[in-house]
Subunit: 343 residues, 2 copies
């Protein structure tokens, strides 16, 4: 195939080769009935011209773009790549494209706001993974009337569907695992207040502790912004607490990384001197020694469900179905970082 800088072929070119009207050609490409002979003529012409429909010309006419925006938060972890890829994979099978933006608050105020870019490109909907500070951007999307689906958590007041882990359940299961192994002095690393997901995991942690009659000391709950360094510092504080917890639950990927690093740097042996259940870090769990026990989100399923809900909203824009709040179960992946305590 020779390189050609010529502008792409259009219906007119096909018309020239086939003698058919533009309407007929359009019908062919939209799956309506066309005489077999004409169909063949069009296909032959299209092949020769290397024709490809112009999706946005069609968008202009139809008023929909078959494109959805994906808004990533200002911080990233490996979870987010799987989300994007999962969404894209699902939507592509429905002929929908994915425009990604990240809500990085870079220094450049000149830079176009991420959501504005999406709206200007007339995306049919937005799937957002909100950071604490991103919720207002999603609100403007809601306000112009396009469907919004959030992943991971739903900022309060946002009129949108959401798909997330069943966070309370996750916190419970992880904590119960610690309790089942005989631990009674428990610590937790969780995010700042406001983020639903982390709060839910903490709620589950507390509920499991309460149900087991375990009391949690105030300084055994460490809140930190979601990043590795804060997780590290928070874990260090836990390890230095007056009475050190025998087991810790880290409520998120970044906090888990920081926590493991803190344990190692303290010269403590994971799963021996201190027990730990991490979060979301399947790959990390493989390389720690001993392997980490982690609660794993069903990332692919979350992505797929978010895409499915979005697709359903787009298929039926007038639907008045009330918003979905889907909470999916994850699972505990057992490693050897939780020691059995025998009293």
């Amino acid at each position: 195939m020779s390189k050609s800088t010529r502008s792409p072929a259009t219906y007119k070119d096909i018309q020239r080769l086939t003698g058919l009207s533009l309407a007929t050609i359009s019908k062919y490409y939209n799956g309506r009935n066309v005489l077999a002979s004409n169909r063949e003529a069009i296909e032959a012409a299209a092949a020769e011209l290397n024709y490809r429909p112009n999706a946005f010309a069609s968008s202009l006419r139809r008023g929909v773009t078959r494109t959805v925006g994906v808004l990533l938060p200002s911080f990233q972890n490996p979870f987010h790549l799987e989300i994007v890829v999962g969404i894209e994979k699902y939507l592509r099978t429905h002929g929908i494209g994915v425009l990604v933006t990240s809500n990085e608050q870079d220094g450049t105020p000149s830079s176009v706001n991420a959501v504005e870019l999406l709206l200007s490109r007339r995306v049919d909907g937005i799937i957002g993974v909100p950071a604490l500070s991103d919720s207002s951007a999603l609100a403007t999307a809601v306000s112009i009337g396009i469907p919004v689906v959030t992943v991971d958590w739903l900022p309060s007041g946002l009129d949108a569907d959401s798909v997330s882990l069943d966070n309370v359940q996750a916190g419970k299961v992880a904590t119960q695992h610690l309790i089942d192994h005989g631990h009674r002095t428990l610590g937790a690393l969780v995010g700042e207040e406001g983020m639903w997901s982390l709060q839910g995991r903490l709620d589950g942690f507390l509920a499991a502790a309460r149900a087991a009659g375990v009391t949690i000391a105030d300084d055994h709950i460490q809140r930190a912004p979601i990043n590795v360094d804060y997780g590290y510092a928070a874990m260090m504080r836990l390890l230095a607490a007056e009475t050190r917890p025998t087991a810790v639950f880290a409520g998120n990927y970044d906090l888990t990384v920081g926590a493991v690093a803190a344990v190692n740097d303290s010269g403590l042996r994971l799963g021996h001197d201190i027990s730990l259940v991490g979060f979301d870090s399947v790959e990390l769990a493989k390389v720690t020694s001993p392997k980490l026990t982690v609660y794993v989100q069903p990332v692919e399923q979350i992505a797929t469900e978010a895409a499915r809900i979005m697709n359903a909203r787009l298929d039926d824009p007038d639907s008045t179905t009330s918003h979905v709040m889907l909470e999916l179960p994850g699972h505990l992946q057992i490693g050897a970082s939780v020691r059995r305590l025998t009293d």
Copy 2:
């Protein structure tokens, strides 16, 4: 702001409020000169109407979309998220949107080919991270005449710019580090043949060995498809070799994960019984015990450069500048996984 499902405002609406012609309004939005009074009138009307330019109507007219496609390979690692986000961040400041697709060969043959989706949406260019099997898709993009920039490696025969790590140098530096620590029996884990980047790292490994007068046994070079399980198996083979290497270089993220897991599962102590230099796994390096020494790619810089080159090509489409092949240096991040051998 009240939710409105009404269709978005257009120039016509602004015209109705201001009495100005469409041309003047267009000029305003394209930064041409407009009387101050008219400018204010337009701004007032736009604010009232919550007007946002329709990017693809403009595209239709101008023949460019200010959108570039990013094509991800059929396998993913955390590296790729940073690439996408880095590219998006740069391009957004230039008003360019990013349409992502992954070249997943899912079972659904009905699903639209990733590159076809991009071309149908008339992206102005494509930045691709090719997997071994994805290069033909990029070739069709090249054949229709839009600029293509590859990241990580350039499939042979593809007429495109590329940005990558200086792989040979990386392999040399990592290997020299092992040699400097007294190791003379070296092993390497690298990818299948064909991928430039992995081959370059191996070349660097071999060059450093040769320069130091170190000979490498055939079975100390293990080739594996790029994924954790194969990396694990390959490392196991190295550890079981007739004469076991004292130090190993893992040439990629996934292979590194597999290698560390294999070491741990073998009951060997990292940095003691076996030395290891990993690749790209900054986060992993923090949680292994001891911390892993890794060669780190300048991911953000790679992403930015790829975006910058793409943007330059778009700014000057007629440029006949020959293709750029940019190779950037990374750096070795020292941990404690390489033991000093004293003979």
